[in-house]
Symmetry: C2
Subunit: 296 residues, 2 copies
DNA sequence: TAAAAATACTCCATAGGTATTTTAT
DNA sequence: ATAAAATACCTATGGAGTATTTTTA
């Protein structure tokens, strides 16, 4: 039993004639007779009561037609859905970013999409790196601005820029006068950090500050960089922030670069190799690789 | 796009693997690859995002699967409907009768169906001959006890019996003493009849009493034979009733046969030649042709 | 006798199989 | 190197056409 057979059946039912239905379906009358016979044999029921002068649905035939109509409607729906989604640029596109970058980059991206991919409907998603990588992998997110390297299979990643970290200290703090910082400088400071499972926190604790006392940071966990900065401003401690979070000016906090250019992270664009949005991702990369992410 | 393709797609989506889906569908992996590719090309959209290690539905693919599931469900429904209706004896059967016979014959038929076609669900329909013939033709009724001949195409009719008409007169009426009647005897009587479009009325007026005054019957039209008999009993007039309507005994009315055996009608069983219930009709005929329709 | 469905016979498109190649980890 | 998807090539089923036969009003 094929969809075509159902079309034949519905047409015969409508036309009440094999000859007319054959014309309508652009096939020969014999094709209809044979196909109908096959379906009836396959199902073991008579769908039409017919003589050479009369064609009429049986009661079973009517019930079958009800189902057949639904099936063909759904089949049309599949074609409609496909038609609407044929152009990959005209579909939905889920763009992800790590949280500290999101608020700064999303507005820029909106303009970029409006100018370069006006038909694409973009949704923005903000998650910490690990979750973002999972969502990328699962197909929930199509493309993400994320710290590299990313430990997932089937991913294409391109580097966009290196984002250095800065030390934030109260303006009156002794370190505030320094031109640059080394890790040793802050080993006796109270280091304020974001929540335990935040990617920036993870990165700082597991890669950058492995040699300094970590235990003393345990009691100070904020949920946003802005909160952290406020805490620094009132002298609760110091913190490390990515360059993007630096304000144009700040009367209460001094932001000091690290001496080593290694203190920071590489930021790139990642997407699944076989994503249908592959073309958009590549095109997007071509557009945004040139922009200055730190211009406000 | 065929139903089989949709099964393939749903299985691949479920198994997230071409090899496993192929096993499950009992086809080779290449078949799935090729068929899926064809469907994707036909629809112009990518249904799966796939590498050699990963198979995942795209968003369009998910929408397509939703439709595909409905289609396959309906397809199963068609098979279920067919399975339930494979046995023609286990289906619905609509039996029609002309109204004067209905009340007498239906109880008998119920026993017959219970004994001979216990799986058949019978529905009884009572209509005047003309409507009954239309319903037979339209397939609303499968088989009918009806006056012959019947002017419809594609019908098989078999005669069951000849039903003579009787004259009903009040017990005290002069004609009540007669052994038999000729039409001339009642040409001065008030002839009570059923409604204008009743088949018995039609038959009496158009074929039997064409030569007697008809105008004088116009004011007396009842809706049932029982009403007519009551009117006869109180002396309103006389009437003509089919034999089936004769009571075992009647203190108030005398029922007198007509001299001519022609006054009456031939009753038969009719059904459409190509009806799926053909076998039941034939078998039913074999059973009921032997019974005495006039035994109470 | 005419009109419509059923059947006979033929052809070819395509679903499916086997074997092989490509691809990505 | 391995495992899975893609591809190449061949086979066979069955859908469709033309011509003919059967059926019934």
């Amino acid at each position: 039993m094929k969809l075509r057979d159902l079309e034949y059946i519905l047409t015969i039912a409508e036309m009440k004639s094999f000859v007319k239905a054959a014309e309508h379906c652009n096939v020969s009358q014999s094709t209809l007779s044979i196909q109908l016979k096959k379906v009836e044999e396959y199902l073991g029921v008579q769908i039409f009561e017919r003589s050479n002068k009369n064609v009429m649905l049986t009661r079973v035939g009517e019930d079958i037609c009800t189902c057949a109509r639904i099936m063909l409607q759904e089949s049309q729906k599949i074609k409609m859905i496909s038609k609407k989604n044929k152009d990959p640029l005209a579909g939905d596109f889920y763009f992800g970013s790590y949280p500290t970058m999101g608020p700064y980059i999303f507005p820029k991206l909106i303009s970029i999409f409006f100018a370069h991919f006006p038909k694409t409907k973009v949704y923005f998603i903000e998650e910490k790196a690990e979750v973002l990588a999972d969502k990328l992998e699962e197909g929930i997110v199509d493309c993400a601005l994320i710290g590299l390297p990313i430990e997932k299979k089937n991913m294409t990643s391109v580097e966009l820029f290196w984002e250095p970290y800065y030390l934030a200290v109260p303006i009156c703090h002794p370190l505030a006068k320094k031109k640059s910082i080394v890790m040793g400088d802050i080993k006796d400071e109270t280091l304020l950090l974001l929540e335990q499972d935040h990617c920036l926190t993870d990165h700082i604790l597991s890669e950058l500050c492995t040699d300094i006392g970590v235990g003393k940071t345990d009691n100070y966990r904020a949920t946003s960089l802005e909160t952290l900065k406020n805490m620094v401003a009132i002298g609760t401690g110091v913190t490390i922030v990515p360059k993007i979070a630096l304000p144009a000016e700040d009367k209460n906090i001094a932001y000091i670069p690290f001496e080593s250019r290694e203190i920071g992270h590489s930021i790139g664009l990642s997407w699944r190799n076989n994503s249908p949005a592959n073309d958009i991702c590549l095109a997007l990369y071509e557009v945004i690789k040139g922009i200055d992410f730190f211009s406000k």
